[in-house]
Amino acid sequence: MSCENVNLVDLARLLRRDVVDTVYRAKDGHPSPALSCADIVAALFFKVLKLDPQNPKWPGRDRFILSKGHACPVLYAALARRGYFSRDELPGLRSLGSCLQGHPCMRKTPGIDMTTGSLGNGISIGVGMAMAAKYLEQDYNTYVIMGDGELEEGIVWEAAMSAVKHKLDNLIVFVDNNGLQSGGKVSDISGLMPIYEKWEAFQWHCQEIDGHNMDEILAAIANAQQAKGKPSLILAHTVKGKGVPFMETDNSWHKRVPTDDEYKEAMEILGGMDCE
């Protein structure tokens, strides 16, 4: 198949292939948190974000922050497929001398707008970027993907309050709500629930979607872009490990490397074909 005119659903599948392939070849990394947000990343990087891969620091670009930085294999895959660097770099993930750090590093990887990996901080940094846009009278939007587990961090709610005070309607935050974190179910580990009502109570513009339905993702982004005077929260219901059935049912894939057989099985399930 040709890489021209690949639709977003297929692009998400290709990103998932890249994630499995990267972790398998690198022999390290977090596959299932990356698979969880692959559809949202595909929508953003191949449809929504105003970017110029030839000029990664273009001041007018939309900003993107992967707050759940451990999901970076999917971000690296998207950046490579957008042409920020060669896809040959992907298996170098986490190895000495590679531009692909274990968690995103804005100083080492073209196209990364902000260093992340320590959970909870991405939204706060996004608030700063959105405030800068307002102050500089620039029309870019700032997009953040958070995990649900990282909502347990206090800084998230500090940022949530300040985003409302500053009326940051240029800030659009996804919660990749796969229900799992490193140690188990989010609902077992914290008193976080209910998530949607909390953001509503914090006076954000809130939407709830199926985070694997491309039409719903795009429609929610369009709605969020139209919301005035408030930051936007899109609570995306997702499945951790989405697309690889044996990863969907086993949280050990939070950080785990597929065996040869598991790799073959996953790649077959994910279509077996790449575009050229």
């Binding site: 001041p59 900003r63 590093c105 804005m106 100083r107 707008d113 902000m114 260093t115 990996g117 320590s118 901080n121 706060s124 940094i125 996004g126 608030v127 700063g128 970027m129 959105a130 405030m131 800068a132 846009a133 102050y135 500089l136 700032t142 206090g154 800084i155 500090e158 940022a159 309050m161 300040s162 005070k165 500053h166």
Partner: protein, 320 residues
Amino acid sequence: MSSYKGSREAFAAAMMQLAEEDPCYVTISPDSMKAMRMVAFAEKYPKRFFEVGIAEQNAVGCAAGMASCGLVPFVATYSGFITMRACEQVRTFVAYPQLNVKLVGANGGIFGGEREGVTHQFFEDLGILRSIPEMTIVVPSDASQVFAATLAIAKRPGPAFLRVANGREAVIFDREIPFEIGKARKLVENGTDVALMTCGFILSRVLKAAEVLKTEGINATVLEVHTLKPLDKAGIASLLGETGAVVTVEDHNVIGGLGSAVAEVIAEHAPAALVRVGLQDVFPESGPAEALLDYYKMGIDDIVKAAKVAMAKRDHRRAG
């Protein structure tokens, strides 16, 4: 003479000057507008004053985001709330990406925190920051130097921390002399019997101690090490080579700050007898600023005694 009421007012005046020069200079307040004397700035430049509430981690996170978009944000509040509560944001999202964020910490030392007590006396800030790569750390010694240092860190690209106090600091410099980041300077050159190395507002006591020593026939050189990072190792080592005996004087725990920095230079570059005057690794208590320094062994007498001990240690080694 310096016309500032205190070091925070000097910082605020410098911010007014910077704001006039360039709209890239902005401030982020974790409800520190009054504490950091930024009321006039907020009134004159409301669009450049970002209030985020009592949320220091978020203040530093926002600053990282703003700096990544080309602004030069200053986050100014009590030193410990920046260096301890928001330590990780400083380290991972400011220092690691080398973002152009300026951090200004008040109530530095027990002199700065004085009657507020331990929760507002910060004597670990410099040690914490010194262990973080890419940080510039400056510790000016009076209000006019805070003014000059604020301009200096603003013009130097990259992460920087500036320590200020609470308004009780003495006036030392009678004119606006420049602040050269990374260059220690000799302020008294009575002789090479002993070196007194110091940073921050306690410099006023060190200068008096040098006078006392002189009346007793001991000729000291006072070196103001106002930049802890990048440290002027050559300047420090050179003076150590001349005196062979040094007292470090700092309003900070003797662990982690100037005393530790000089000890590292001694160990690696220039053997010398060292006595560290500072807070001796204890939690202090509330009290009047000057009395607190005396009580916790940072008095003029303590510096004088330390100088004699350092010289005796040196002479004993030489004799041995």
